[in-house]
Structures are given as C-alpha cells and as structure tokens.
C-alpha cells in the first residue's frame, strides 16, 4: 500500500483554478520532488494535502485512510508533517521550545495535571525535552538550543523548522523549498541531511524545490506543475529533456529548439 495517495485533487479560489486534477502516489521510503515555475500551484498542493486549504475536489489517502478535508492538526496527528516556504517558526520562543512544541500533540496528560505539576506530567516533560535535544543534535543545532528562534540566520532557521516537524513523529514529511536562500555549500549539506533523515527516521519525503541541483541530485521521481496542471511525471533524466517542461520554465514555444 502506498503511503500517500492523491487522486484528482483540485483547488479553486473563486474563479481561479490553482490546482487541477493533481494525482500522485508515494511509496514508503520514496523521495519525490514537485517542481514548476513560480505560481504553478506547488505550495497550493501542499496546503491542500496538509489541511491548510479545503480541497474543491478530489481525495487524499494516507496509508489507506481517507484524510481529505481534515484540519491541519488532525492531518499532522495522522502522520504528515511539513515545513513552510516562508519559514514559520515561533519567533519569541527558543529553538528548543520550538522543537518541543512539535511533541505536544503526542502528550498524554491533561491541563489540570500539568498545572499542578504532578509527577506523571513532569516525567513526560523530561522525556520530551530529552528527545528534542536529541533532534537538535541530529540537525546540528544544539549550540543554539536556548537562543530565540527569530534571531538565527535564515539557513539555520530552516533546520529548526525541519527539527520541529520531525518532533511530531511523522511518517511523511513535506518540505516546501527547504533550500531557498542557501548557497551551494549549504545546499549540498542539506541534500545529505535530507537523505540521512529519510533513512534514519524511516520517512517518505515529498519536496518542492527550485534549486535543480538538489532536485536532480536526490529526488527519485519528479512531478512538474504549470498553472495548476501536471505537465510531466517521471525520472529526473526524462524530465530534464522534456520539451513541455523546458517551455514552461522558459516561456518559449517548444518548437523553437527543434
């Protein structure tokens, strides 16, 4: 059974069709990329899958369970976590606190117990803290654990976002332009990092990216969107030479090159 199955997903905003008949199936352990020019509907696809937007039509299934139209927190509870194109950390809280927030949904307690500071809660808090520190180690952030998240450089903020997403114990990770704003060296580090967490956490990863080096380097399969429509699907080598994809990015007629 596939981990994520998206069937005929459509999203309309009034008259504008942002996403049209989007179909994708991800098997366990796959690393699939979603590319396309700006405004082609990639983030919209993510937003609909993760419950930020309600779909106008279509279905999303996670390991066979229908999650179409659920709220974002419900979908995260089911096991899909994500990062955002414009980083959305909690700027006033420290890096460690940001990551610990990701653990909150798995907490088994009540506000009363927590407010009274009962041992059953204190134990869980300690466990959450230890696990979060471990995540910070893995993502190379333990030196800034107690800094305010908003004060970090852009590249490190992205890592915090990924660590926070990992704290929710997901089966699937959706990364929205994780390499945005990174230089080639940082991008390379990120590529290794993504492949590492793919293995170490047993994840399935779906990622949006503009940096072709990263996309071609680590994605096993690609989907290409343009104006909300899927114009190509396949392996990176095929996509690279697809005339429709080239014209979508460059905006020229496909015949010019022939």
């Amino acid at each position: 059974m596939s981990v994520l199955k998206v069937e005929n997903l459509t999203k309309q905003f009034g008259g504008l069709v942002a996403l049209s008949d989007f179909n994708v199936e991800l098997e366990e352990g796959e690393l699939v990329g979603l590319i396309g020019p700006n405004g082609s509907g990639k983030t919209t696809a993510f937003n609909v899958i993760t419950g930020i937007y309600r779909p106008t039509g279509g279905r999303v299934t996670l390991r066979g369970k229908d999650i179409t139209g659920l709220r974002s927190d419900q979908i995260t509870a089911q096991g899909i976590a994500r990062t955002f194109q414009n980083i959305r950390l909690f700027p006033q809280m420290t890096v460690l606190e940001n990551v610990m927030v990701g653990h909150h949904l798995r907490l088994k307690t009540s506000p009363l117990v927590a407010g009274l500071g009962l041992p059953s809660y204190v134990r869980q808090e300690r466990a959450m803290r230890d696990e979060s520190l471990e995540l910070l180690q893995i993502t190379g952030l333990e030196d800034v654990a107690h800094e305010k998240a908003g004060s970090l450089p852009y590249g490190r903020q992205r890592r915090v976002e990924i660590a926070r997403a990992l704290a929710t114990e997901p089966k699937m990770l959706l990364l929205d332009e994780p390499a945005a704003g990174m230089n080639p060296e940082e991008t390379h580090g990120l590529m290794d990092f993504i492949q590492q967490i793919l293995k170490d956490f047993g994840l399935t990863i779906f990622l949006i990216e503009h940096q072709m080096r990263l996309v071609m380097g680590i994605c096993e399969r690609l989907l290409v969107l343009n104006y909300g429509v899927t114009i190509a699907k396949g392996y990176p080598e095929e996509i690279q030479n697809d005339s429709m994809v080239i014209s979508a990015y460059l905006g020229v007629s496909a015949n010019v090159n022939n």
Partner: protein, 297 residues
Amino acid sequence: MDLTLFLQHLANGLSLGGLYALIAIGYTMVYGILRLINFAHGDIVMMAAYFAFYGIALFLLPWPVAFLLAIIGTVFLGMGIERVAYRPLRDAPRISVLISAIGVSLLLENVAIVAFGGRPKAFPRPSMFAEQWEVQGVRFNNLTLFIIATCLVLLVAMFILVYRTKTGRAMRAVSRDLEAARLMGINVNWVISLTFGLGSGLAAIGALMWAMKFPQILPLMGVFLGLKCFIAAVVGGIGSVPGAMLGGVILGVGEIMIVAFFPELASWKYLFAYSLLIVILFIRPTGIMGREIQEKA
C-alpha cells in the same frame, strides 16, 4: 396593528437606522483601512453633542452656527486622535492600536465627566423640528423626516465620493492593500486622515440629530451607541460603506419593530443588537456585503 401605526413605526425605524448608519460608516471606513475597531468613535459622537450643547448654552450661538462649529470641531478631534494615538502605533502589533483606542475612549469619557459633569443635560431642540405633520392619518415628527432626508442625502454623497471620485478610489485602494497603495504613489497618511475626518464628521451630524431626537446627553452616551453602531457595521459587512448603511437600517428598523410587536420585550431591547451580532458572525462572518480575506500559507 393597522397600517398607519406600522408606517409610523417604520418611519421611526428608518430614522433611527439612518442615525446608526451615519455613525457606522465611521467604524467601517476606519476598519477597512486600518483593520482597527475605533473604540473611541462612540465617544466622538458624545463630544460632538457636547460641543453643540455648550456652543448654544455657554456661548449663546445661534443653533446653526453651534452645530456647524461642533461638526468642524469633531472632525478635527477625530483627525487629531488618529495623529496622536494611532499613527505612532502603525507598525506595532495590531492589538496595540486596539488597546490605544480603548485608552482614548477612556480618556474622552473621563474628561467629559470632569469637564461636563456626570449628570445628564437637556439638549435643545430647535423649534423648527418640533412640528408634527400628518400624512394620510400617519403622524410624523418633523425631526424624523428631517433625519431620514439628511441621512439619504449624506449616504448618497458618501457613495458618490467613495465609488465615483479619485479620492474615493484612493481610499478603496488603501483599504485593499496599504503597502501597494503607497507604492502607487498614494499619500497614505493623507488618505487615512481624510477617512477619520469624514467618519468623524458624519458621526457628528448623526450625533446632533440623535441629541435632538433623544434630548438627554451624558458623558457615557457614546458607549452603548457606539457598540450598537459597530455591530451595525459588522452586520452589513465590515469595510463596506453600503454595508454600514444596510446594517444601520436593519438594526434601527429591527429594534423599533421588535418592541412594537412584542412590547413585553422592551427591557430586553438591548439584547437585540448583541444577539444579531452573534448570529451574523456565525452565519456570515464577513457580513452581508463583506469580502472574504484568505490567509496565505
């Protein structure tokens, strides 16, 4: 209930609704541009009434002069408040401006209590408004008709201003997207000042007619009136001038009709507005004529 009584109530409702509409426009325009609920707007209404009162009672001005000066004074008051208490917080988190508005409201109320005294004062009703007419057996108060007529004229004028002039277009642009409007070369500060000035001016006219209709003025008179008018703006569609007009009329007519048909509910009259608010926020939160604002992720 027979037709004549119904028409009388309707006329009352429309005149009340017109007053609510005039004051509601101030709320809706400011909210549309700054996303701010101007808590002090109701107190500006109160100040207008007192300006006119003292103009007549203390300075012994003829009432048209006092009224005019009161309106001008209120316009400056509204613009001054924006300049002093809201503009400095333009870049602060939105809730800070809201708290500032509460502070201004408190200040105006307390200054009024000290300066004007807490006991209600009797607002003069010029004799020309004391007459009664009779049309087809329905008795109309001169004042009621005057209010309806004035409101219609002003509302039409507002409509023309907002939708048919360059200035109005600038106001609508700022209300849609402040930054984009600024980049287009629109002087945003001037537009905002104008919005406050207009809203306050209309509120002042509404205040004067209100004070003539309900001749008791108090320092706290603006509070519940303001709240009701804000509800009218929300019901009609916050950010929309026609919406404020619609909301005001609905509220005014509704209030009068409920008490007319169910006199036992008179003491619960206050709840009509609040209940209407809760209902509209559940059924159609953007109001009858409002637009949807979607957040991007």
